[in-house]
């Protein structure tokens, strides 16, 4: 018992240090060369210099966004995995991210077409509606399809349908503002503003804290519904809570950064292997930190690998994390809950 607590502490400390290191690395790399000294200088006295501008208004919000949203996405995946009682689940592979994307695109095109400037809250709300809708479809399917791998295939198909419709909507929308939509619809942290960062910070922070406080019933749910009920957990309530929390988190990510592939499914798996436990009280903070680190690094690669041309973040996360998902699909014996 003692050794596992100590192990957790060490893992958390190492992850925090890595995250801070990634933060400075992310500030330093990019199309314009900036040294660590410059970063400190501009953070300490934000003057009106060229370096400071790049750091504060372009890189800083982007990096904070990658941290918050990457963490949120992983926790969302972890919650979905508990809901389905299966490690092969995530907002992207179940089509939830893509459905959120579709709803954001539709409401943007519609509102911008009518000359209304869209606020971040409206984006999050439309993404949330899209998430819930896809979640409903997946849940209906899960009653027919008991095999989780097949359910993932269905989810991927839902994702394709939503992406196709999004493409259609974006292509035929003539407003110039919508040009930006194309980057976003593939998944990108570019062009994220401080306002977006602030809104997502508030939503994600509140949701993560609530999720963490729900660790106890979420942990009971891991033993299956019947035993959880016998422990005194209100099953209906916890199911609704799991759906709402994971949908809010993935919707926030999609609203501001578009659909980011495989982080939600792969990071919880990596964290379980690292922490050697599946307990929510450890896994929720671990997934957040791990997701933040991995997303931040992938974003750095996305904007520097072929600089000045940027590639979408999903392209990077796919290359690194899809193999993890393939491993999960192949290596795990399908276990079903009777």
């Amino acid at each position: 018992m003692v050794s596992s607590a100590r192990r957790n502490r060490i893992c958390f400390c190492v992850m925090l240090i890595v995250l801070v290191a990634c933060f400075f690395f992310g500030m330093a790399v990019g199309s314009a060369d900036i040294s660590v000294k410059d970063i400190f200088m501009s953070l300490l006295n934000p003057g009106d210099v060229y370096m400071g501008r790049i750091i504060l208004s372009i890189r800083l919000p982007r990096i904070i966004a990658a941290i918050i949203l990457g963490g949120a996405l992983s926790v969302s995946g972890f919650l979905l995995q508990i809901f389905f009682g299966n490690p092969i689940a995530g907002p992207y592979v179940l089509g939830i991210s893509s459905s959120a994307k579709l709803f954001v695109a539709i409401s943007m095109v519609f509102l911008l077409g009518n000359g209304v400037v869209i606020s971040s809250i409206v984006m999050v709300v439309s993404a949330f509606v899209g998430s819930l809708l896809a979640m409903g479809v997946v849940m209906l399917l899960s009653q027919k399809v008991k095999n989780m791998s097949l359910l993932v295939v269905c989810g991927v198909m839902i994702g394709y349908i939503c992406s196709a419709i999004t493409e259609f909507v974006v292509t035929f929308a003539d407003d110039t503002n919508i040009v930006n939509l194309h980057n976003w619809s593939l998944g990108s942290f570019s062009g994220i503003s401080f306002e977006h960062v602030f809104v997502s910070l508030v939503i994600v922070l509140v949701t993560i804290v609530i999720t963490f406080l729900m660790s106890k019933p979420i942990g009971a749910f891991q033993l299956g519904e019947n035993y959880a009920r016998n422990m005194g957990v209100n099953i209906k309530r916890i199911r609704v809570i799991l759906i709402l929390l994971s949908s809010i988190l993935s919707a926030t990510v999609t609203a501001f950064a578009g659909p980011i592939s495989f982080v939600g499914i792969a990071v919880p798996h990596i964290m379980r292997s690292l922490m050697k436990t599946a307990k929510p009280i450890v896994m929720i903070p671990a997934c957040f930190l791990g997701g933040a680190i991995i997303t931040l690094l992938c974003d750095c690669i996305a904007r520097t690998a072929f600089a000045p041309t940027e590639i979408s973040i999903s392209a990077v996360t796919s290359v690194f994390l899809a193999p993890v998902v393939i491993y999960l699909l192949v290596a795990r014996r399908e276990v079903s809950r009777g």
Partner: protein, 264 residues
């Protein structure tokens, strides 16, 4: 009215229309072990699942410690009834200790952290079922027999006055059966826990049961002491055996049962 269950005209089944058993009237007193026997599919598990709230009852009432179960909160029921069901659980990366510790859920605080007294209760339960040496092992890597012991320990450390056990001895070897039944009997006699269990192995019933309930078709067919219920005639009805075969079977069964009674 502590540690008691009574079923009043209980009607159980699946969904809205599939009635499995009806008119079930039964009471279990503190320290009493009641065994449910009957053919496969006769509805033993359905009754147990209904009592623990896994299935909605179709009619009648369930009284737990004198209180109508439908008026009780989930948390109160959790402190009153523990269970070991036949359903397999697949917890990930949990040691046997962790699995047993989930029985402490109704007693731990907001974040579910184990306190000293919880850890003591968990360890005591593990010792009681004789599973101390596997406590630190991964739950998914132990044998069926060990798993059943761990699930029983989990129910024990939930410290409830009522235990519901669905076929706790199935799939175990003889020694494991004896061990588990000994623990169950000890819980009833020493801690005055009311125990309702289903069991297929009739030879073990006389050793542990105070009362036996035989179900057949959609009714409780017979209730009484093991001597009254396990008779050739009753077995022929419950298990749809040819007439005359029941008494042959019973003769040998009671011999074996008497030996087992001396061992449990």
């Amino acid at each position: 009215m502590d540690n008691s269950v009574s079923l009043d005209n209980l009607k159980v089944g699946y969904g809205k229309n599939t009635v499995v058993l009806q008119d079930v009237n039964l009471s279990i007193a503190p320290g009493e072990i009641v065994c449910l026997i009957g053919a496969n599919g006769a509805g033993k598990s359905t009754v147990l699942k209904t009592i623990v709230g896994q299935l909605k009852k179709m009619g009648g009432r369930v009284f737990v410690n004198g209180e109508d179960e439908s008026d009780m909160s989930e948390a109160d029921v959790a402190k009153a009834i523990s269970m070991v069901m036949t359903e397999r659980i697949h917890p990930e990366l949990m040691t046997c200790f962790d699995v047993v510790a989930t029985g402490r859920y109704p007693y731990t605080g907001r974040m579910g952290l184990l306190e000293e007294k919880d850890i003591t209760a968990v360890n005591n339960a593990i010792d009681l079922v004789g599973a101390a040496e596997i406590a630190a092992k991964d739950f998914s890597k132990i044998s069926d027999g060990q798993r059943q012991r761990i699930m029983l320990a989990r129910a024990i450390c939930q410290e409830t006055g009522i235990m519901v056990l669905d076929e706790p001895t199935s799939f175990l070897d003889l020694q494991y059966k004896l061990d588990i039944l000994r623990v169950i009997k000890k819980m009833a006699k020493e801690k005055h826990i009311a125990i309702l269990m289903s069991i297929h192995e009739l030879e073990f019933v006389p050793a542990i049961a105070d009362k036996v309930v035989g179900v057949s078709k959609d009714k409780v067919f017979v209730t009484g002491t093991p001597k009254e219920v396990i008779t050739g005639a009753n077995l022929e009805v419950m298990y749809k055996m040819e007439s005359g075969t029941g008494s042959v079977l019973c003769e040998g069964l009671w011999n074996y049962a008497n030996s087992l009674t001396r061992l449990i």
